[in-house]
Symmetry: C2
Subunit: 136 residues, 2 copies
């Protein structure tokens, strides 16, 4: 069955008039969802300009170049936008192999499945060795 | 190298004191990110109780049982929580094959890769046939 594509335009223009927008970060190679952060227009532009993920840190209230301290940056391979233009999906290569400040591959490392909670994402590094005693 | 798991507890208790929390919805079988919505505690509880995804609709300001009208519900196979307890990941089976109100498999159907924008998610149904002339 052929279905027309008339309702869609191929622009990628997030609507930042809605405020900070959630950005889902997914591993481009494996499909694992690594983290969720927020972007404003400045973070979005810096991401496009540099090819490395930038977010808006709500706790520090400043632009956040993910991995700037540790070197564990996220190389953006592709970028998707949702139907309402208010959620962003980044497909990345995570340098260092872990997106989470706990050293785990994914921030979503706890899973409930079949009524049981288990850890679903491996620990890649010891955060103290990467970040020292820095508090998050 | 063995790395201790001492920083993690295996509870799944979202922190709704932070307000509405973003919920990423991922296809449990394929890993495709289907949509992003928001949950409050009521939506989270209804999701656990029923095994079908419930969200909080910010536009209608009401509990939203996804697929209630169309029958295209999301059967929750697993649920993950992030390190800060403020982002949720649902792994679902999407009944009807499409999560987006446009009839596409994923709401994230526009992708920019290698400098080119293209449609990355197929259209599964004609929304007029499923929803009629309903406005979103």
């Amino acid at each position: 069955m052929a279905i027309q594509d008339t309702d869609a335009t191929a622009d990628i223009i997030p609507d930042f008039s809605k405020g900070l927008l959630p950005a889902i970060v997914q591993d481009d190679a494996t499909g694992e969802v690594l983290m969720l952060a927020f972007m404003n227009e400045q973070a979005f532009r810096k991401t496009l300009e540099t090819g490395e993920a930038h977010y808006w840190s709500r706790s520090r209230n400043e632009l956040w170049h993910k991995g700037e301290t540790s070197g564990h940056v996220q190389k953006v391979r592709a970028l998707r936008l949702d139907c309402d233009n208010d959620a962003i999906l980044l497909l990345v290569s995570q340098i260092g192999g872990a997106a989470c400040h706990t050293g785990r591959q994914s921030c979503f490392y706890r899973e409930c499945r079949d009524g049981k909670v288990h850890f679903c994402s491996p620990k890649i590094f010891d955060p103290e060795q990467v970040y020292g005693k820095r508090k998050f």
